[in-house]
Symmetry: C2
Subunit: 200 residues, 2 copies
Amino acid sequence: MHIICCDLEGVWVPEVWINVAKITGIDSLRLTTRDIKDYDELMNYRLKILKEHNLKLKDIQDVIATLKPLDGAKEVINWIKSVSRLIVVSDTFVEFADPLMRQLDYPTLFCHSLEVDEDNNIIGYRLRQKDPKRQVVKALKSMNYEVIAFGDSYNDVTMLEEADKAFLYKPPQNVIDDYPQFPVATNYDEMKEQLLSMMQ
Amino acid sequence: MHIICCDLEGVWVPEVWINVAKITGIDSLRLTTRDIKDYDELMNYRLKILKEHNLKLKDIQDVIATLKPLDGAKEVINWIKSVSRLIVVSDTFVEFADPLMRQLDYPTLFCHSLEVDEDNNIIGYRLRQKDPKRQVVKALKSMNYEVIAFGDSYNDVTMLEEADKAFLYKPPQNVIDDYPQFPVATNYDEMKEQLLSMMQ
């Protein structure tokens, strides 16, 4: 029996931080791991910016709630759930993902979590574990599932490598160039084709 | 972060084989592990009965599709998905569960599968792994989740024992007597109370 593991942002929903930066007008929130390579440093920088602007968790959730899942995402997710099992694996935080997951009828999401104080200030974050995307695939394989994985970016590669079958979904050109071993799907129809052929 | 693991039949949906027996009028399908202790023997006996009555997978699925989830199941499942993560763990077969899971918007289900030939005859079955309920909890713990589990019967006990926190849901008296260490919930309101206190 197979199970599908996939990324969240860029696959089913828009990139969260970029859109939070856009809507709040706080340009410094646009920085990504391309600008600050160390994730811990980047996250602490983001939390500092939120604090400086006196933005609480609720404020960010309200911004995120104005975002919509990508066109067709909900239908494709429902299709996958009807033909296999789906686990969404993300490096986001459950508190940020929540307003978007609600619009997708809450597919199962494995991700990180925030530390929030009693005044709703975000005071830190908890990564679930090291190399979390690979660990999810390993755990599913320990249950004798054949794992099919897809994602769009560098942080998905360990998940794709650990999976039994994998492809890239709408990756930027540099990811395609660096990982030519993975087939590429560029829209939901091609995603479904890849899944159907890999589920055989 | 916590994750909820629970049983399917008796918790969210009615007992499948008993109802298939009732609707088809084939009394011999009522036998359970109480009558034939060895699960493999019981399943092979059931498959023999289906064959004798010339019942194909589609016929059984049509019968199962006339069943409804238990009253309130969908609402409680949606509530759990909105406050935590939910994995339904069952000793049923994905092909039998499907008509019921559809009515519950397909929560993530880990279970077994059938072998079906090209004429839609059920010719065998594949158990996903040995001690599957315990293995699911172990796999989720390997991802650093705190596992909260509940179920109604003997085949749930390894899952409940392996979980970080656990309770029995609507168990028969003999299960309560044999496992007095587990708290008991007898309806969905009590289930939600148990979950809320264990999610703290």
